[in-house]
Symmetry: none
Subunit: 414 residues, 2 copies
Amino acid sequence: MKAHIISIGDELLIGQVVNTNASWMAAELNKQNIDVSRIVTISDDADDIRTNIEKSMAEADVVLVTGGLGPTKDDITKKTLADMFHSQLVVHQPSLDNVTDYFAKRGLPLSEVNKQQALVLADCEPIRNMVGTAPTMWIERNGRVVVSMPGVPFEMQWVMSHHIVPKLVSRMGHEAIVHKTVMTFGIGESFLSDKIEPWETNLPTNIKLAYLPQAGKVRLRLTAHGNDKNALIALVDKEVEKLQGYIADNIYGYDDESMESIVGRLLLERGETLATAESCTGGLVGRKVVAIAGASNYYQGGIIAYSNDIKHQLLNVPEETLQQHGAVSSETAIAMAEGCRKAFQTDWAVATTGISGPDGGTDENPRGTVWIAVAGKHNTIAEKFVFATTREQHQERSANQAIFSLWLQLRQSK
Amino acid sequence: MKAHIISIGDELLIGQVVNTNASWMAAELNKQNIDVSRIVTISDDADDIRTNIEKSMAEADVVLVTGGLGPTKDDITKKTLADMFHSQLVVHQPSLDNVTDYFAKRGLPLSEVNKQQALVLADCEPIRNMVGTAPTMWIERNGRVVVSMPGVPFEMQWVMSHHIVPKLVSRMGHEAIVHKTVMTFGIGESFLSDKIEPWETNLPTNIKLAYLPQAGKVRLRLTAHGNDKNALIALVDKEVEKLQGYIADNIYGYDDESMESIVGRLLLERGETLATAESCTGGLVGRKVVAIAGASNYYQGGIIAYSNDIKHQLLNVPEETLQQHGAVSSETAIAMAEGCRKAFQTDWAVATTGISGPDGGTDENPRGTVWIAVAGKHNTIAEKFVFATTREQHQERSANQAIFSLWLQLRQSK
């Protein structure tokens, strides 16, 4: 089954609102093996609405339209639909009750404009909106489906989850699609591509591969098409197993689980604790750790040691170390991680110290340099990286690397 | 001038990635009075790419295409463009130097696949990518412009800001446009709208107003159209001055300068220093402070006191305070801020302690509660907020509020 999504709204075309509706819908449809092949955003303009719906009806089985159903005058979707389908607008009594209720409960007068929200196409299947006022219309023509639904995110999500997705699934044939995403870190897209080339070349023809890079991570998404879902799952699992032979040290997880979540789970399973010591990342490692609900079970806290004085006073980095080797050095990173582990009495500590720029680079330590150290029960390691990007990207990459380095140590200490 | 945006990428069609590129571009174009009338998302498929570019070239003056330029096999945009424009791909030497440099600096070997990134259409105007490897192509045909640029957000933003938008503006007519953005915090969109209603109603007809809300901030963008740029600037300034009469305590800055940057500038001017003490925000306040280049001139660092033990040990919050009032209380927030100011010997310290959820709420302190304290030379203030949103949004709102509260205190202590 092939679907198009049409988002109507001037606020999307001037960049005032990000189109999260379309990505939410696409993700939900994708889970049900419904293939979204186009997402279009257009304005509240009758010609645009008509042309785009007609075009999509020629190319897709299902056309999902959001927006343009509010009571204000820029919303003309319903009239346009009535015209193009040679239908007329009639009152949908349950929706009128809905609107009447809504205003009565809030003690507000019901205007003519508000009553118009209860109008629907005479020959559609109307769906009453239980979380708002504008009804959804399910329209069928020549075996194609057009759905017009509200653009308010939680109203759209409600009607999609409760009505539209179940109705679409019940109409579908039996082709199966299986996805698996392999999460890699620490190897650039092109090196990764070179390294796994023999594997990629020999992938079965019904498996497609996509590279999705982001700040040091590359997600590899396998998509398999076929008839038998279980056979596809087995096929994909077999290929992922083969892939592990090529890049075992770079695969930290699967299916969009974040590194922070995986590290958190490992710590929780082992009953171990973590603290952070950050210079150049200024709290970003901590921020990523606490993004996971329940982090308080293993994360004690951290020290943001942005100045040298604080590195010495709160993390016990010896003044000689800072003077002899500098703040951006293996020695300082190690002392920070060990000092942090001691101050917080945790099993693990991770430290970052580097030069995010734009200023502050030297010949020995150019802008982009970062030292990352991980201290554990048995040893402390430190590694140097150079991420020659913007300040923001450097901080993001360094924080991701810190968590990846911690994951590597956690894995090795099993 | 009419523009279409075409976003290429399967990751967008399966909802794995939200299309923030399109909204960023639309907002930038809108500022320049370039009208975006369609945004289309399609897959890495030659036919789709071709059909959509051709369709858009028939309807718009400018077609902006993002994505599909990476070194991996799923990226076929360039070949498709060469075919459809009856052109061929040739090496763009500055881009090859760029790619070569990029890999040399990182001590990495240069593969054939990487070299292909330097290929461009023979008769395009290539634009060297100074923040990545894939060049941008500016293609003109029959008075229409097609731009193919990278899909990596910061690479796209860089080339749009430095090259594409200025080139488009220089092609346009002579109507003058003046923008000014007023940055407000701490007042919701609808309250703001009520409060400034008399001002908004009396705005000159050639000034348009847009509300752009985000995590506690509402940016108010004024856009003035006319013939005389200087007269427009004067007109807008006069209206902004009037606006200050309505919401003086909520305006922290102008033209998208971040609160972190404004706070940093104030501290720098006064030669004062800052430290942070964070519980629920876990480093996010520090992370925002160090996002500003040169933060080391005023930011000493911070303590992420996620556990109560750490609040006591490193920030000297008395055990009685924690027991009697709890970790989420005015007393603890004040003790954290004061303890932090003392530990780091700074002029200012800001503290956060709250319940981001999803668990941990109580009757007295429901999920979403956060106490924020600011300690200065003369006094310490603490204020309670309830942001009943997701964990991530709560952390974001709380960190923004912490910086805003600091800004209020800085302003008052002048």
